[in-house]
């Protein structure tokens, strides 16, 4: 089972990301590294800029400054390489409601690759093969989220950016997604996620709090009350 390209260097480096909306500085000098096979969690209250940071790294938005380095190459400038290496799970549903899971996946996978992934790959691990012929409009929220992740991890990315991926999901579905993420990590993938979910926090190896545009390291010890106090 292949999950990702093995990254040659030991880390991904994100340095000096800046973003300003009109006069408000949303992100200021955001810099951190992600080790190979590790997960980094970004915490913060609603509207603090977590999604903006992820969408800049995914290439959806342009930052005012900063670099997203992999093997010395800036992925913010190399669109092709970024598309190949980075998988992005945005908030909301990127699915086309009228089509089946199969048709939706065809947008992201080659036909042969899709069949392979469904029989013995990421998609089978996410359990998408169970509802592959179901139209999206008849799917539950959990099915949709799994399918969204399935779409985002096409072409075996090395870096996964998850924007509140497990929000509003039932326990069984969450469990499935966590198992997949653990496996992704175990195979050398890097994960950067934003979350409000305690279980997802436990999946992370490093935590940062984003507050008033600044990123601060945080040592999460399972004490949610302390975390809430800081946020």
């Amino acid at each position: 089972m292949t999950y990702c390209h093995i990254i040659g260097t030991k880390m991904i480096e994100i340095s000096n990301i800046q973003k300003k909306y009109k006069k408000k500085m949303v992100l200021q000098d955001i810099s951190f590294t992600i080790q190979e096979g590790s997960c980094v969690g970004i915490l913060g209250c609603n509207g603090c800029g977590k999604s903006t940071l992820l969408s800049i790294l995914a290439g959806v938005q342009r930052g005012d400054e900063g670099e997203f380095l992999w093997q010395g190459k800036n992925l913010l400038q190399d669109t092709k390489l970024r598309a190949q290496l980075v998988g992005y799970v945005p908030q909301g549903s990127p699915l086309l409601e009228e089509l089946t899971a199969w048709d939706n996946l065809l947008l992201w996978y080659d036909r042969g690759e899709l069949k392979k992934e469904l029989s013995d790959g990421v998609l089978s691990m996410l359990g998408i093969d169970e509802f592959i012929k179901t139209p999206v409009r008849k799917m539950s929220g959990g099915m949709k989220k799994r399918l969204s992740i399935g779409c985002s991890v096409a072409r075996q990315p090395s870096v996964l950016l998850l924007d509140e991926a497990s929000a509003a999901l039932d326990l069984i579905c969450k469990e499935r997604i966590y198992n997949y993420l653990k496996d992704f990590k175990a195979h050398g993938g890097c994960i950067l996620l934003t979350t409000h979910d305690v279980q997802e926090l436990e999946l992370c190896d490093k935590w940062y709090i984003l507050k008033e545009g600044h990123l601060m390291p945080y040592n999460y010890d399972g004490n949610v009350h302390r975390l809430v106090g800081i946020l």
Binding site: R62, A83, V86, Y88, P90, P94, L106, L107
Partner: protein, 412 residues
Amino acid sequence: MENFLIYLWIQLKRMGKTFPSILLMTLLLTGSMVLLAHLLLETDASGEEKQKVEIGLVGDLSDSYLGFGIYAIKNMDSSRFAVEFQPMTEKEAIAGLNAGELSAYVSIPDGFMDSIAWGENKQITYVTSSGSVGLGTIIMNELAETISSLLTESQNAIYGMRKFVKENNMQDRLGKATDDMNLRYINFILNRASLYELKIIGVSNQLSMMGYYVCSIILFFLLLWGINGASLLIRKDAALPRLLAARGQGAACQVFGEYLAYLALMLASLFCIAVILEIGMKMTGFQIPEWKGKEGAVLLYFIIRIVPVAAMLSAFQLWLYETVSGMVSGILLQFLCSVCLGYLSGCFYPLYFFPESIEKLAGVLPTGVALKYMDSCLISQTALGKLAVILLYLTFFLLLAVLVRKRKIGKG
């Protein structure tokens, strides 16, 4: 390019899946449009009937000569196609005039025919209301004046002839000569064929009223058809555009793919309906003056010619849906824009009903230009200038849609 083609294919597949339900909706819409067309054309036809000027005849109509004259004017004279004479009492005539049912009435004084016979000139009174001033009234007054002069002068001619006959001792031929002269007058008046010619120049540039309404209803149909696109083009969130952007497929690429698929759906529905209507037209024998003498599938050929209009309107609808995120607001926006643009462009009433400023506005509105282009297509005229404007509008709407999409992708 490969990503674009895959996205286009998926979008086409999506449109294909919804095609049966869209076609059903289109059929319902067509039904209501056909009904609207029927009502408009019916109103227009009855309007032509109403163009007849109704004149009341009041007074002493008992004389047999006068009765014959009135009968001749009502049934034999060419004015019967434009003027309707109705015998009535003066009270009825005044009421009719006040209610606007009569244009005027003619009051014939008692003993009118006897007075003519005795050489007196009792005046016929032509009564009209002060409210009915206009070209019609002026013409009516002029006609009354003409007829009055004609009668007086002809009477003078008869007296002149009598005098001449008496002075030359030719009394034995007087009766026959008077009859001959009267018959000549009657013959002259009743046989006149070209006292006036009514020429209807149509609503715009050689187009018949029927042709105009066919164009305007098809345009309004295309505008309203956009409501079908609500479920396909309105997005609750920007997750898909963002994911596509992350893959390197920018806003322009996304919008263009969606646009082509949406246009394909619109054209497929339009051609299905055109085939059904074409069969219906052949079965019922319905025709508009512009298609008279033309063989083959005239409606289908017309629809092919107006594909640029459909392309422009689908770009416009795509842009409108791009600006909203809720289904209800999207449908409302689309409906209101359709009705407003349809109204201002002359879909419901020909533009000459509107003030000059609205006519000028319609000339620059995309739907106004589209209607004029369709008019030209209907009468098989080339309209390259209008086509160029339509294509410019198309590009403009697509650019707007791309800008809105870019903004959506980049937001938060």
